[in-house]
């Protein structure tokens, strides 16, 4: 049976998943707000709509990061093995990748939350 959750991927790129989502979320928020604030006069919806939209986007980004973290946690063997993961084996390398990816997912989660805070506190463009 085909698994819904992707199987383990043998790639270095998985390490960068969560920070990439942070980048996409960050640029998405910045670009949306910048365009909205520049073009507000010709648009027929308010800033609250933008905030709601970006709140949804934030939840989505966080969900993807959590998924990436879960995959990393699985790759790390659900924390059964302790670092430093310096064994000269394929297994050691995979555990290291899982652990480092998990840590990066944590950092990215926090960074996405940071980026979302202004959306809660600031209710207009404030030029």
């Amino acid at each position: 049976m085909k698994s819904v959750i992707p199987r383990e991927v043998e790639s270095l790129w998985t390490l960068f998943t969560a920070p990439t989502i942070w980048a996409v979320h960050f640029i998405g928020c910045y670009a949306t707000v910048a365009i909205y604030c520049a073009k507000a006069a010709s648009l027929d919806f308010g800033f609250d709509t933008v905030r709601l939209l970006l709140a949804g986007f934030t939840v989505f980004a966080l969900a993807v990061i959590v998924l990436s973290a879960w995959l990393a946690w699985r790759q790390w063997g659900f924390g059964v093995h302790d670092p430093p993961h310096d064994e000269p084996t394929r297994k050691g390398r995979t555990l290291f990748q899982g652990y480092a990816t998990l840590l990066l997912s944590g950092l990215s989660f926090v960074a996405v939350v940071y980026a979302a805070i202004p959306l809660i506190l600031i209710a207009e463009c404030q030029r």
Binding site: L43, D86, R93, F96, Q97, S108, A111, Y114, P118, R127
Partner: protein, 837 residues
């Protein structure tokens, strides 16, 4: 594990003789044609250091001028040139190149490679850097240095009355050096990914390699926006295209965006390699493996990413919507997390081990203390309201020097003390080192700490003098004294480097008892690794007994050089399994000639000498063609060669397995970033105007769409050429010829839109933007034609065959990017004006 080789003493001598001959550094004037990483790294480092001393003298000149109020030691204009050149040289000619130098010098030995994959590219980068650097620095002696500050803000820097030829020297000289940086990034990424010793899986990589991998990746995304900005800027200065001229729809803020999208990651591009040196030094002097290897990876990757979300914090006072500022403020606070993690990892490593407080540790620890203070003021200025108060004052000057001198300069000095025996076989003096450290540490703090106060008292940066009654004189006098004490420390260090030192009585390759692989190398031999070892540990010299002896006895891979060519191993990305015996370029004049000729193009352009520009461009083109034809994708004498340990590996591989394919991919990622910056510019102008076309005619729909379709057809023909080549040369050649013709048509169609609609690029920013994006894509098409022609000639001369198809595969990869660029370009230019709100 494979059985290690065993050679008789006679065989070993013969092997060493052959290796020595292959890797020999030429003598006499030909020494300068060397491309070996140890020579290039050394020249790079010494040159960058010399530029640093020059910029340091400019700093002292400024401090002397500011020592007392109403001083008339130097003129206002010379002061402007001095601070512009000081910042420019420190950033572009010291901070970035010195890390490229260290990387080129150290990486092969750390990774267990004989050489990085493209030694001639490193040499090319060095000569570009040297020429560009002399050009930029030399300008001040002709009173022609750039004088608008190291970030060259328009409209000041676009004003020809104020910023004369100096601005052009800055733009063209530095663009040239940025090319060298991207070349280094390609070299470093491919080297780290593909040239590690067998067994050095990614969880075994030295910390330095992890950091450098991230930094090189950052260069790919950070430098191209500046190159794009430079192009716009120079088009305005040279041809009056009004990108930053408000009266014709331009906007100086675009430059600020492009500059700081480069400029902020740049701070981390210079900081991370310095911290990487600390990550090598701290474990050695704690005599234990680093605590939290994975956490360092987190910190390096995390900082690398987050550093791209900070650029607007240099623009908090430009009137952007505050909600936008808040995003960047948040990211600026977030980056403190991974930065802090690294410092705690070092502290934990020191606590867990037994610290030996040697000179490198002194500089490292002192630097981190200074950096931490700079980091804390960084958290302060990341807060928008505080920044509004401190912006453009000496508080910022203090902050940036604390960050950069603490986070970058001190660790570099630590690294030089640490690696000096690796380079020369001799140690620097402990006594001199301690004197140098205390002079520098005390001098630095005395010099820069008072700037926080003069800044908070309102002293703006970049003023050449100030009146007495403002109450800034005491702070400035203290700062000047401190700066000279600091300079005395640097001088002590320089004298220590150059004073004659006796050769040590006993040969000791590893004087600090370090654990990492580079310390197995003998500085007297230019082959790097005597044989390429199998790695099973993060600290092989500590944990793999007999490693040194086995390497020196040639018991591992590539113990010989029977082919008479320079060879190194290529291994797989994740698990470092040997997959190829790579032949790298040897001694050659070609990198130097192409770099000097390319430099000639940039220099001639600065002075608008069109004929010399053209001549130099032709020489550059010919030398690059000679380089490619004689130095890349050579058909080997045999499919496979014996690499030792009973293993045979292919010499020629193509497609994603080859280093050339990776280099193309990485280069084009950088190229794509520059293109994205131009597209960003297009939409930026759309956001700042109600009607961004300002009523001017657009390129229409027909021509852009025709160009789009033709580019896609040319791309498909190139792919067809690659596929047909697998069946035989005939079909491939037809597809290539057709591809060239269609590409030429596509380029003409691309230019036809703006041309036939009479778009005058000097009239308004909209036609200028359309032209620049169209030209960008057409230039890529023209290069694509050259590549198709190169493959065609290769096919006709038997260089590109069914089995040996590296060239055509790499060209196809290039064409994927061209197709992507063309589709975006012509869809935006042709269709976006129709949906304009």
């Amino acid at each position: 594990m494979a059985e290690l080789g065993n050679f008789s003493p006679e065989e070993r001598v013969a092997q060493e003789e052959r290796l020595r001959r292959v890797w020999k550094t030429p003598g006499g004037w030909r020494y300068w044609t060397s491309v070996n990483n140890s020579e290039i790294g050394l020249w790079y480092g010494v040159t960058a250091f010399a530029f640093m001393l020059f910029a340091g003298l400019l700093g002292l000149l400024m401090r002397a001028q500011l020592a007392v109020p109403n001083n008339d030691l130097i003129s206002a204009d010379l002061f402007n040139q001095a601070f512009t050149l000081h910042g420019t040289v420190m950033m572009f000619l010291f901070a970035v190149p010195i890390f490229e130098a260290i990387a080129i010098f150290l990486l092969p030995s750390m990774l267990g490679a004989r050489e990085l994959p493209f030694p001639r590219l490193s040499a090319f980068g060095y000569w570009s850097f040297l020429l560009g650097g002399i050009f930029v620095c030399g300008s001040i002696f002709f009173n022609a240095a750039p004088n608008a500050g190291w970030f060259m803000y328009p409209p000041l820097a676009t004003d020809k009355e104020y910023a004369g030829i100096g601005a052009d020297i800055w733009l063209l000289g530095l663009s040239f050096i940025e090319v060298a940086s991207i070349a280094a990034a390609v070299e470093i990424i491919v080297g780290i990914m593909k040239c590690r010793a067998p067994g050095m899986r990614i969880n075994m990589m030295p910390m330095f390699a992890w950091y450098l991998l991230i930094v090189a990746g950052m260069i790919l995304f950070a430098f191209p926006p500046l190159i794009a900005g430079d192009i716009l800027f120079e088009m305005e200065r040279m041809f009056d295209w009004p990108f930053f001229d408000v009266s014709r729809g331009g906007d100086p803020l675009l430059w600020q965006h492009l500059f700081w999208i480069f400029g902020h990651p740049e701070v981390y591009i210079i900081f991370l390699p310095a911290i990487a040196l600390m990550a090598m030094i701290v474990p050695t002097f704690s005599q234990r493996p680093i605590v939290g290897y994975s956490w360092i990876v987190l910190a390096a990757v995390g900082t690398g990413f987050l550093s791209f979300g900070l650029w607007v914090h240099h623009m908090f006072t430009t009137g952007l919507p505050q909600i936008s500022l808040a995003f960047f403020s948040a990211a600026s606070e977030a980056v403190a997390i991974p930065t802090g993690v690294q410092i705690f990892v070092f502290i934990a490593t020191m606590l867990a081990g037994r610290v030996i407080f040697s000179v490198p540790m002194l500089f490292g620890a002192g630097g981190l203390a200074i950096f931490t203070i700079g980091g804390l003021t960084g958290v302060m200025v990341a807060l928008v309201p505080f920044d509004w108060q401190a912006h453009d004052t000496y508080f910022i000057v203090a902050h940036l020097h604390y960050v950069i001198i603490g986070g970058m300069f001190f660790p570099i000095v630590a690294g030089i003390y640490y690696y000096f025996p690796f380079v020369t076989g001799k140690k620097l003096s402990d006594a001199w080192g301690k004197v140098a450290f205390w002079l520098m540490f005390v001098g630095f703090n005395v010099g820069f700490f008072p700037m926080h106060f003069s800044g908070l008292r309102g002293m703006p940066r970049r003023v050449f003098t100030y009146p007495e009654e403002f109450g800034w004189d005491l702070f400035n006098m203290i700062s000047t004294i401190g700066a000279f004490v600091f300079a005395a420390g640097v001088m002590t260090f320089v004298i220590d480097i150059f004073r004659p030192k006796p050769k040590p009585v006993e040969r000791n390759l590893n004087p600090w008892n370090a654990g990492t692989l580079e310390w197995t190398n003998d500085p007297d031999e230019s082959w790097g690794m005597r044989s390429v070892p199998i790695i099973t540990s993060r600290y092989p010299l500590w944990e793999q007994p007999n490693l040194q002896a086995d390497i020196e006895a040639g018991r591992y891979y590539l113990p010989d050089a029977k082919s008479g060519q320079r060879e190194t191993l290529v291994t797989s990305v994740l698990d470092a399994e040997p997959i190829q015996c790579l032949r790298v370029g040897g001694v050659s004049l070609v990198p130097m000639v192409s770099a000097l000729a390319l430099g000639g193009v940039f220099i001639a352009l600065t002075f608008h000498w069109w004929i010399p520009t053209l001549i130099c461009a032709v020489i550059t083109f010919i030398s690059i063609m000679v380089w490619l034809w004689t130095g890349t994708a050579q058909i080997p004498e045999a499919e496979e060669v014996d690499v030792g340990l009973g293993q045979k590996l292919p010499v020629y591989v193509s497609g994603p397995a080859s280093v050339g394919w990776w280099a193309m991919f990485i280069t084009m990622v950088g190229d794509g970033t520059a293109f994205a910056s131009l597209i960003f510019g297009y939409f930026f102008y759309w956001t700042v105007h109600d009607d961004f076309t300002s009523g001017a005619a657009g390129p229409g729909v027909i021509w852009p769409i025709a160009a789009l379709v033709l580019f896609v057809v040319a791309w498909l023909l190139t792919i067809a050429a690659r596929e047909l080549n697998e069946k035989g040369p005939a079909g491939c050649r037809i597809a290539l010829v057709a591809g060239m013709l269609v590409t030429i048509a596509a380029c003409l169609a691309g230019l036809a839109g703006p041309f036939f609609h009479g778009m005058d690029p000097t009239s308004n920013v909209y036609p200028a933007t359309v032209w620049i994006i169209a030209i960008w894509t057409v230039v890529h098409g023209a290069v694509g034609v050259i590549m198709q022609a190169y493959c065609l000639v290769g096919s006709l001369t038997g260089r590109v065959t069914v089995a040996y198809d590296q060239d055509i595969r790499n060209v196809t990869l290039y064409w994927h990017f061209v197709a992507f660029t063309a589709v975006i370009t012509f869809a935006v230019l042709g269709l976006f004006p129709m949906v304009n709100v």
